[in-house]
Amino acid sequence: MTVSLMIFLAFVALTLMITAWAAKKSSGAASFFAAGRRITGWQNGLAVAGDYMSAASFLGIAGLIAFNGYDGFMYSVGWLVAYLTVLLIVAEPLRNAGKYTMADILAYRLSPRPVRAMASLATLTVSTFYMIAQMVGAGALVSLLLKDSGIGYTTAVSGVGLLMIVYVVFGGMLATTWVQIVKAVLLMAGTLLLSVLVLKHFDFSFTAFFDAVAHVRYTLNGALVEQDFLTPGLKYKPPYGALDLISLGMALIFGTAGLPHILIRFYTVPDAKTARVSVVWAMAIIGAFYVMTTFLGFGAATIVGRDFIAKNGGINMSAPLLAQALGGDIFFAFISAVAFATILAVVAGLTISASSSFSHDFWSNVVHHGSDRGPYEEVKVARLTAFVVGVVSIVLAIVLGPGANVAFLVGLAFAVAASANLPAIVLSIFWKRFNTAGAVAALGAGLASSIILILLGPSVRGPAHAIFPLENPGILSIPIGFGAAVVATLVSGDRSSEQKFAELQVRGNTGLGSEKPTAH
């Protein structure tokens, strides 16, 4: 058995113990969906960070910087700045006025059934796409990281899927939260250690480090070239590079505050004030992580080298290969295990967000008209949904196979969140006139335009045949989502939603009547 497999199995054992502990404590709906609303500020901050920083961040951005220098680093900036939208606009009113899902805040003063049905569709779309990207990534990683242990793609995908089902079905939100906290701590420890080792390699001299970054050598079209890796434009080239970056930035800045699996984390804390504290904790952790991607990415470019990485597994192996170069096989094993832990925590968060939306929004409120079906039925349906979502993701990931180009699915998830979910959330909080027709239009148009533009874009059709030239549809789909919301609101003329605007305003801003933590 390889060392990385042993470290990974130790992590799995720890998370299963957490799940068993959570299963014993868990009772009732608030416990299953929101961890009893008793998570503290710093705990939720770590959990938000653990929910958010996927393998795409850890392996993907390190690789982007290792191969494209500055452009990769610029790419990483938006992932932190996006939390200002969460902090200033969404987190507190959501916690004050909602219960379990993103749709709660929409259903408040709008007609619940159509709004919940659409919001649930958007949530399931975002979660499923994001999850398939993570699962395929996990499976592909295994063949690289654990290639000596005899574990193949199918086994890895099934294992990841099975574990996330176990966490969510038995441990609910409490287990998911603690899996995410453990992952965030591991990820930060691994990244910090790697950064320190990179600096040590340069005798702790920033001057030496950045001098090396300014003179990176690699092979381009068969010839050895020397390139200043702090130069912009190595990846995002004219004519559309700048527009694509702006479009991506829009999807991040407006999309993060519309990601269902991030939003439901704010229901796990006792009140809006703690939700605010937890965003600040998350920003400290996420920011520190992305600052350190400088050392991971540029370290891999200077110490390991682009050519070596390309020959030994490709761009996503930049961080693990850097670990191997600096700390030997044991450290390589540790960083590989961290990458798996990262994927597991994210897919668990996605599973619980999909299942709570299906159960609470669709089953209880759309199918059963919000009549009180009893909290146990809602939890039962959520557990069943988690199981189904898990099995479907495993099957889809296996069918797509390790070679599938799925990176665009993460971009699609952010685009839908920014173009469909965020307009509906923001307008329902701040615009008195906003009504049901507007929300349904925003969710429908935002969802459809994001998917259509991605299908027409270079990620799916290839750069040569793209009808829409950008990889990220945000620059067009976000105005479409907001525009549809405004037009449909004004055209429909329905003003019934104005009656409860005062109530939502007072609730959202004062916390009066908000959901309280459950007693033990």
Partner: protein, 110 residues
Amino acid sequence: MSSHRPPDWDRLASTPQFRHLLLAKAGFVVPATLFFCAYYFALPVLVGYFPELMNRRVWGPLNIAYLFALSQFAMAWIIAFLYTRAARRFDRMAAEVVQMHEGAPEEAKL
């Protein structure tokens, strides 16, 4: 439960205390949001359309583009810090509104 009667939302919403809270919040959140959006989108716009300017070295090998990208982290943290400080004031104002519904704090026993 601290109170059994349902809040009179419309009355609370029209109190001067609540209007004051909304204005105070908007006074922070609106300019802060406009600022961070402008500051953030300046990065891809400048890097994309003025690459020569951004590639100018200002400190050893470090160019404007890298330092500007790095400054975004500081910007985000500073705004988060300022908001947390301002929010303490909003919390006090919100507590006043809640008190108008629940009565004096000593009555509002849990």
